[in-house]
């Protein structure tokens, strides 16, 4: 099962390696990973997406808590409702006959063109991972030159 795990850590060198080591040491793949400082620059927030057996993920979650540099671990699997957003840059081939179609798709997904040239558009999209995948599928027939995704960031909804 896929899990989105949010980890609040101290912003110190080596912390990322400690966190990543817990996954790699158990043969687990981190699908996406996002790290940035919080309002207080002494801490960073990580969002990790991984998948695996629930029992092993419970163990990983406990092991994360055991790390000295980890302040808080939230596993968003289960009944916690949360916001889940990702940003992606898509460089798409946009020759004369496709330029209008590319812009239409951009419009439908409330994305925006952030760079353009005679033969390409670079489109920025934010949204949940399902939306991102939808845009990519729509643009694929036009010819995608490259895609860079941030991986999702997650935040619990206020009750």
């Amino acid at each position: 099962m896929r899990h989105t795990i949010s980890v609040l850590v101290e912003n110190k060198f080596g912390v990322l390696a400690r966190v990543a080591g817990l996954f790699s040491g158990r043969g687990f793949n981190i699908e996406t990973l996002n790290v940035a400082p919080t309002l207080d620059p002494a801490y960073s927030q990580m969002t990790i997406v991984t998948s695996g057996d629930d029992r092993i993920l419970e163990q990983i979650s406990k092991q994360l808590n055991r790390l000295i540099n980890v302040i808080k671990v939230t596993d968003y699997a289960g009944d916690v409702t949360y916001l889940n957003r990702e940003l992606v840059l898509i460089k798409v081939t946009a020759k004369a006959e496709h330029r209008a179609e590319a812009l239409r798709i951009t419009d439908i997904f409330r994305a925006k063109v952030v760079d353009s040239g005679p033969a390409h558009y670079t489109i920025e999209v934010t949204g949940n991972p399902a939306k991102i995948s939808g845009v990519i599928e729509m643009l694929r027939p036009l010819g995608i030159k490259s895609v860079v995704r941030t991986g999702p960031v997650a935040m619990a909804r206020e009750r």
Binding site: A17, E58, I68
Partner: protein, 581 residues
């Protein structure tokens, strides 16, 4: 006044009340060793190999309950500590390891004797640090000792670049440590403890299962009180031996792969396991699906990751074992009117039957010394009071089975990692911690050779440490598996060309004795105990003696090979006599 990093290092150790450190100098540590040379508060024990230093500090920690401290140089000095650190990590032993490092400006340049020891030891330390600035040195050392000794203990490593030991700063030792990400839960949840008590009251066939946590948290007295009051029998993992007295009628012996018949049968038939400071290691559970099939499980442990890791748990209590047991005993005191003795009489009678059906025994072959007999004699002649360290393999299991430990911190063995070469340096560390105790390393002829260079350390300090080699000219435990499961194909397990241990001991300035007759065993042990010098006893034992009972890997713990003539499975024919060498 400003102090150099090296002076701060020393001052911090003083504040932590460290009296002994084990180490090995090198280029980047010259400033620290220079400071150490000019003081008398802290003695530095120079081992002959860095691995020996870490195991010695580990033995010192296990025997004394205080954190072990290690000081080694950069590069190979640091990498040589890894096995010792991993050993301490697996067994949750409090330890602070200081490694020298090349100057900050040279880190990452493949400098001479540079190794990324923080990266290398990340998965086998509780926490580790690279001190990048002398201003952070004192607070880092304070944190390291705090982390090593609080919660579930473990080794912490501090990497000290040379310039940090040279640079000066104002010395200020923090009075306390406040780490946001490290707040161990010491007090168990009272509601959970009450639920556990209800479960105990309801249980008809309860068993206490104790692990190393009971020893680490100094909970033996509370455990004894609980078991005696409630008349619940006690079994133990290897790491928990000594928490409950080995000769007490309620003690079932060790559980698991080489556990007693009574212990394994009682776990398979119990309706309630009260696990205290144990982590249900695979050597204890055997086949997990059929472990304790009828039991509810209460689990006390300070580390939430130990709970539900290998085995389902019905009533978890996260907290320090001693506090939780104390609270349990307090609640029990108010529970009048439970006729504990009567309640468990039938269960204890059943256990007695198992005990009588298959007691711990061993084979005797004419003209041979049974290795188990040597352990029994060490037990008898030291009145069960000796500190016993072990290497790993048959020697370790025989020590666990045949020495009846009276006290916690009396049995020092590498349980989790299973490190051959642990026992002898650990014995040295234990002897430094407890100079008045008799210390025996129960060793094999294979594993003693993994750190035998420490004979020089023991002799230099006139330590009366005793080494009892159960010499079978085999890597015995691996050979045993080859005999049982690989049709006696003894691949790379025959030690034909082992050294003459007696002459080797003498070459180091120790006393060496070889014992080839069973009748001479007691006198040799007496002589070793009486000798003030380091003594190495080379017992030429029955070559193909096996550790029994045995649960084969992957089997349930009640599927035991017994080898007492009453078991279900017979053993393959022995063939050691055919092997020359």
């Amino acid at each position: 006044m400003k102090l150099s990093g090296a002076e701060i290092f020393l001052e911090c150790l003083r504040r932590e009340k460290v009296d002994t450190i084990f180490g090995y100098p090198g280029g980047v540590l010259l400033n620290i060793y220079d400071v150490l040379h000019q003081q008398r508060d802290i003695r530095h024990i120079l081992t002959k190999h860095e691995q020996g230093a870490v195991h010695a500090a580990d033995g010192y920690a296990r025997a004394s309950g205080k954190p072990g401290v290690v000081l080694v140089t950069s590069g190979p000095g640091a990498t040589n500590t890894v096995t010792g650190i991993a050993t301490a990590f697996m067994d949750s032993i409090p330890m602070v390891v200081f490694t020298g490092q090349v100057p900050m400006s040279m880190i990452g340049n493949d400098a001479f004797q540079e190794a990324d020891i923080v990266g290398i030891t990340r998965p086998c330390t509780k926490h580790n640090y690279l001190v990048s600035d002398v201003s952070k040195l004192a607070s880092t050392i304070k944190e390291a000792f705090h982390i090593a000794t609080h919660g579930r203990p473990g080794p912490v490593l501090i990497d000290l670049p040379k310039d940090v030991t040279v640079n000066q700063t104002e010395f200020k030792y923090p009075a306390r440590v406040d780490l946001k990400g490290f707040k161990p839960n010491y007090e168990g949840n009272v509601q959970q403890i009450k639920r556990a008590l209800q479960a105990i009251k309801k249980a008809e066939r309860p068993v206490l299962f104790t692990g190393g946590g009971v020893i680490l948290s100094n909970a033996a007295a509370e455990l004894r009180k609980l078991a005696r009051k409630t008349q619940i029998p006690v079994t133990s993992s290897l790491m928990g031996l000594g928490a409950y007295p080995g000769e007490d009628p309620l003690f079932l012996g060790m559980l698991g792969m080489h556990g007693t018949y009574a212990a394994n049968m009682s776990i398979q038939n119990t309706d309630l396991i009260i696990a205290v400071g144990a982590r249900f290691d695979d050597r204890v559970t055997g086949k997990i699906e059929s472990f304790a099939p009828k039991a509810g499980i209460v689990h006390f442990d300070i580390d939430p990751t130990s709970i539900k890791k290998n085995i389902r748990v019905d009533i978890p209590v996260v907290g320090d074992c001693r506090n939780v047991l104390k609270e349990m005993n307090r609640l029990l005191a108010a529970e009048r009117g439970v006729p504990w003795k009567k309640k468990h009489a039938g269960w204890l009678a059943q256990i007695e039957e198992w005990r009588k059906a298959h007691p711990m025994t061993y084979r005797e072959r004419k003209g041979k010394i049974p290795p188990q007999y040597v352990v029994e004699q060490i037990h008898k002649l030291t009145k069960g009071e000796a500190i016993i360290t072990t290497e790993v393999g048959q020697n370790q299991m025989w020590a666990a089975q045949f020495f009846k430990f009276k006290h916690p911190r009396q049995f020092l063995s590498s349980g989790g990692l299973g490190t051959m070469g642990y026992g002898f340096p650990a014995a040295i560390g234990a002897q430094f911690a407890c100079p008045d105790k008799v210390v025996f390393d129960i060793a094999g002829d294979g594993s003693i050779q993994m750190n035998i260079q420490e004979l020089a350390t023991a002799v230099q300090h006139r330590l009366p440490v005793n080494v009892a080699i159960l010499d079978n000219r085999f890597l015995g435990m691996v050979r045993q598996w080859q005999q049982l499961f690989y049709d006696c194909r003894y691949s790379s397990t025959c030690l034909h060309s082992g050294p003459d241990f007696v002459r080797l001991a003498e070459a180091y300035g120790a006393v060496g004795l070889r014992i080839t007759e069973k009748a001479d065993v007691p006198d040799a042990i007496r002589e070793a105990i009486a000798t003030k010098n380091t003594v190495l006893l080379d017992f030429i034992v029955d070559r193909e003696a096996n550790v029994m009972p045995m649960v084969p890997a992957g089997a349930s713990i009640d599927e035991m090979m017994l080898d007492d003539g009453k078991g279900k499975k017979s053993l393959p024919k022995q063939q050691a006599d055919k092997i020359t060498g």
